[in-house]
Each structure stands twice: as structure tokens, then as C-alpha cells.
Amino acid sequence: MNPYLACATGLGAGLRGIKLGLKAPPASTGNAYEGEVERIPGTLAKALAAAEENQAIREILSPELVDNAARIARFEMGVFESTVTDLERRRYLETV
């Protein structure tokens, strides 16, 4: 993580919550891994989609910074999608 962006995100989101008087749900108890709770985006692609469709994060971090992070993430995903990896050779070279 970039510590400046991570700190700015957490602080900015929190200040926005105070300004808007947002209310939190009750605290969870027990094992947070169990039960019907929304999970963090499971992949970079899902995180990118979540950021791009959200207006609040653009207010918090500015459209320029969000667009920049999206551009970097999209490029990074493209690198992974177009690179042939050892994992693919291991799974397919002999068997396919």
C-alpha cells in the first residue's frame, strides 16, 4: 500500500462520516469470518469496479487520484492477463 493514500482514505472516509452524521451498525461479536457479511472485493478487478462506480470515494480522494489508481490497476491487470506463467505451464503443458 501507499501509506499516504491508505491514511488519506481512512481519514477522509471517517471525516466524511462525521460530516454526514452516518450511523454505524451494531458491533459484531464472535467469528467475523462466519455469517452473512459483505466481503472485501476478492480481486483487483472487483476492487477497481467498486471504486469506479462509487461517487463517495471520488469526493474523498478527488477524481484525479481515483482515476489515476484505476489507470494503474487496469494496466496491471492487463500485464497479468497477457503473461504466460509457470502455473499455466505446470497445469497444461503435460496434460493438454
Partner: protein, 301 residues
């Protein structure tokens, strides 16, 4: 000092991305922040100072992450708050010379120990030649360091400070750790998940707001449930409100998401708790003077 602006929108591999620079790469101005000046004892007779990025016209560059954090601190100040933070960082130390990694040894790396010895004094002893040097570099900033729940994994907890200084300090800590490890014939990585069958590394951010005039902790209210104030709940709710949208800024890499596995001690769920560490957010301490908001989302790179 002017630099090529591509570095404000590039990858870990310094690729020049399409979109931002199609019509050329304008200069950006690096302006020294002399308040960040400090000795850099992890190098011989060295000091270090950080810069903020400005546009050539003298206004802060919109893509400067450090300037953005400063803007958020100013926003907090306008609301009457000062902001304190503490960051914990985890990393692995490998008994492999960094020169070999730089030449392509990205696999065939075995950790120093086959087993996990979390919090072990003896395990700490084996890495003390490196960890001791890191501690010596930051006698006032490191609150604790310990072997973590991974083979050759460590955690360093930084003592709370102003949030910009804390972000600076996490940069210095990573730099010093990598450099000292390299000098000792080892390799340090803060990569979120270097092997799928071993622990991942995260970074925890604790934050606390104080009344800028009285210094009173804003998140504390003895009269309320869990002794947490309304401001705390709203601060928390603000973070839950952008739970998914903010992930990109805590976990910016493809690899970050391999860390977010269930039952891995990573914060993966949209909820919060006062004692559990597995939620993405939590109240980190019950001490009234130190009541802080904690994000365990962050996965460093």
C-alpha cells in the same frame, strides 16, 4: 527540482502508462519538506528529506499522495481535530542475498525456519543481527517488534505520531529494513502474499482524533456503550460506507487480494468489533486515552 511526471502514475515496474501521458510527459516540481529532514542511520553518514509534488505553476499536484494526506489533515483541522496514527507493518526476511533475487531468483526461496515461532524470544534471537539494527535506527519510533505468525516473518509496531509523520515513518522503516537486510546478505519483502501456503503480510493503521484545543480524545465517551463516542461511530460508518470502494487504496496490487483469504487473520468483512481482529475495522484498545480506530484492511506491497 523538476522531475518527469510519469512517476506519479506508474506501476511497481515504472511502466509509462497509456492515457495520462499520450501528449508528452510534463515536468513536476519536487519541493523539499524540510520538516521531514532526518538522519538516515541505515546508511553511512546519510540524511534524508522528503519532497511534495507541485505543478510547475506552484500549486500542489493533484496526484501527489502526500499532499492529499496533508489536505485531509487540514480538513480535520477545520473540523477542530488533530489526527494521530500508528502503523504496524509485517514483512518476511529470507536468508537469500538480494543480489540473487535481483538476478531472477523469484522462486526457490525457502524461509529461514520450516516452522512458525510466533512471539518467540528464541526466534527473535536468530534475526537480531538485522532486527537490532532496524531498532537502533529508530529508537524513538519503534514501539515493539516481534516474530510473527509466519516462517521468518516479523512485525514492527510504530509509536503513534502525527499522521503525516507516521506515513513518512512507514516509508523510512521499509527503506531501512530492505537496505539493512540487503547489507546483511538477506532479503526483506513486504509483499502481501509471497507464497500461497504461507502467511501473508499486512499493514494495520490505527487512527485517533483529538480535540485540537483541549487534546481530549474524540472517539472516547465513557457514558456510551463500549465507551465509544458518536463521532467514533460516524467515523467508522464513513469507512464502512466506502468499504468496497476504498479497497483499491489499501490493496493496490494483484497480489494484495491473495492475502485476503478467509481464516488467514486478514480483515475481510464489512463489519466491526471491539475485540475481534478479523473484521476489517475495529476498536483497537480499551484504554480511554488511547482509544483508536483501526483498519486491518491494509495490505502493503
Amino acid at each position: 527540482m523538476n522531475f518527469a511526471s510519469f512517476i506519479l502514475g506508474t506501476t511497481t515496474m515504472d511502466e509509462v502508462l497509456p492515457g495520462l501521458f499520450d501528449t508528452g510527459i510534463p515536468d513536476v516540481k519536487g519541493v523539499l519538506d524540510l520538516a521531514s529532514f532526518r538522519l538516515a542511520p541505515w546508511e553511512d553518514k546519510a540524511a534524508i528529506v522528503l519532497m511534495d509534488w507541485y505543478k510547475i505553476d506552484g500549486t500542489p499536484h493533484p496526484l501527489c499522495p502526500r499532499s492529499m494526506l496533508k489536505r485531509k489533515v487540514a480538513e480535520a483541522a477545520e473540523m477542530g481535530y488533530s489526527v494521530t496514527a500508528a502503523i504496524e507493518l509485517e514483512f518476511f526476511l529470507f536468508p537469500v542475498p538480494i543480489a540473487e533475487v535481483r538476478q531472477g531468483r523469484w522462486t526457490n526461496i525457502e524461509p529461514a525456519s520450516k516452522d512458525i515461532h510466533c512471539y518467540s524470544v528464541l526466534e527473535g534471537y536468530f534475526w537480531e543481527p538485522i532486527i537490532g539494527q532496524i531498532r537502533a535506527c529508530f529508537p524513538d519510533e519503534i514501539e515493539a517488534c516481534l516474530p510473527e505468525w509466519g516462517q521468518g516473518q516479523f512485525e514492527v509496531n510504530l509509536y503513534r505520531s502525527d499522521i503525516v509523520k507516521m506515513a513518512d515513518m512507514s516509508v523510512f522503516l521499509k527503506l531501512a529494513t530492505k537496505q539493512i537486510a540487503a547489507r546483511m546478505g538477506a532479503t526483506a519483502t513486504f509483499m502481501a502474499k509471497w507464497r500461497e501456503d504461507m502467511s501473508g503480510c499486512s499493514g494495520h493503521i490505527h487512527m485517533s482524533l483529538r480535540d485540537a484545543e483541549t487534546g481530549k480524545p474524540v472517539f472516547s465517551d465513557e457514558s456510551r456503550p463500549l465507551k465509544l463516542s458518536e463521532a467514533f461511530e460516524s467515523f467508522l460508518a464513513g469507512n464502512l460506507d466506502v468499504f468496497a470502494a476504498s479497497a483499491l487504496f489499501y490493496a493496490p496490487n494483484m497480489n494484495s487480494y491473495k492475502r485476503f483469504q478467509s481464516m488467514s487473520f486478514a480483515g475481510t468483512t464489512k463489519n466491526w468489533g471491539s475485540t475481534i481482529a478479523r473484521s476489517a475495522f475495529g476498536r483497537s484498545t480499551t484504554h480511554p486515552k488511547r482509544r483508536a480506530w483501526k483498519s486491518v484492511l491494509a495490505a502493503p506491497t
